[in-house]
Symmetry: C2
Subunit: 309 residues, 2 copies
Amino acid sequence: MPGPLALALDFGGTKLETALIDSDGALVPGSRHRRPTGPAATSDELAARVAEAIRASLDAMPVGAALAGAGIGAAGPVDLAEGTVSPLNVPAWRGYPLAGLVSSLVPGVPVTLRIDGLCIALAEHWIGAGQGAGNFLGMIVSTGVGGGLLLGGRAAPGTTGNGGHIGHVEVGGHDEPCACGGRGCLEAIASGPNSVAWARRHGFTGATGEDLAAAYAAGDAVARAAVERAGTALGRTIGSAANLVDLDRVAIGGGFSRVSPDLLEIARRALADRSDFGFVRRVEIVASALSDEGPLIGAGALVHRPDRI
Amino acid sequence: MPGPLALALDFGGTKLETALIDSDGALVPGSRHRRPTGPAATSDELAARVAEAIRASLDAMPVGAALAGAGIGAAGPVDLAEGTVSPLNVPAWRGYPLAGLVSSLVPGVPVTLRIDGLCIALAEHWIGAGQGAGNFLGMIVSTGVGGGLLLGGRAAPGTTGNGGHIGHVEVGGHDEPCACGGRGCLEAIASGPNSVAWARRHGFTGATGEDLAAAYAAGDAVARAAVERAGTALGRTIGSAANLVDLDRVAIGGGFSRVSPDLLEIARRALADRSDFGFVRRVEIVASALSDEGPLIGAGALVHRPDRI
């Protein structure tokens, strides 16, 4: 007899994914399904794709298994008080009642919605690089820079559910315009696309984070300066966060976090250079221990680890 | 028959104060006592002054009153795991067991130690401008810039107890060196002395925050630019904090926060200009509702409001 399962939905700016997650954080084989999202889809199309993927995942339920609940991780902003989502890159959904949609697809099953950055942090804390850390920040450095914050081993409380937006903490000495409307935010500096754009302004001819990684590995001076710039901004921002919330550990994942194994070491050095305070310098900066299943596992944690939310 | 009382100790970089606090957050008349601290005092002198002030406060105990506990707010850094303090401007105390000292002076009475910024935030939340706010940041803008953070109506958890250091969150576009070892921190920009120093570099001839306030009120262009600069940095930093911890309200006190009634309005405008995110723009920025009794009231809250810590 299998243990209770969670239906997990990760709703992002380019795709949505669903899967069944067991109580150890493992995906049920054959249960993972994906559909596109993006700026072109209508609201009805998005809802239909959510329904298709959920039905396909439910078809993979083992005989005799029970569904304990459904967990949703959604691209922000979210509004937990209303149960709605307004994913930045999915303009068809503004204040969309995603929790209600999922509830209608699995009648009688409890549904829990949280922002995707928090789900990833919950997954790291459950079975990844955040295990055992009291005050833990999970970060994603990719097309954007996102994150999720656990304090005292639990999701940091918040009225709207949008905490953990480390990508929109400002970095001293920087004034680059940011997609959030601000200037000098970490995301405006250290995301993959913004790092590549900076390198191109300094003569780099590649187009992608992968190009930048290859050039860095080959010793290209501009690529090395671009990675130094991103890693330094990461370390300084972690320092700001540590001052505010007394962090124990930060785990960094996402495609651009693997631009070079040096990136995290640069961030560690920047953190140490940035502060004389022992409580800031002590923060551990480690690599994510999750695969690309992280967001789904985190959505499953909303069901299997209610003590953490 | 009076209710149970708290013995409160506020230990700062220039002075220490003690008082008895009742269960409504009021000081018992005649119980407030003060002694100097500072860089020149020896460790034994400091301990003797703490003991003198505590004994003087205890002499004001009303007949029949009982002491429910002792609360200590101390200038940071602190180490809650060890129960020690290392106040930046009191070099004689590094890793000093202040909780143990107080415990020896009131045998059998429970003693609770927290950083002073948190105590001030607890006082605001208890009887001041933070009442009813779930995620609340109490800020002090004075010789330095400090703060304390409550999330979900309680002190944000932390291993070392040093969270809430909003003064050492960096501000985009700024690179001024900071006393913490970093650059571009809010304190390096917006504290009273650093605002005055900036104005002097731009031709202001006054020497104090009071001089700057008078010049601002008289319409002096450099003074107005200095206040604009400080208020803008405050608003931008509150934006960074709101992104990270989904703030509901921020209350700002401290001597330099009163440089002009315009300061908070400038901060509000900077916050609105800084972010398109509704969850950031919604943060309320209000003036502190506490007198200079705030730190003592907050130390009393450690005893009277254990549900908040």
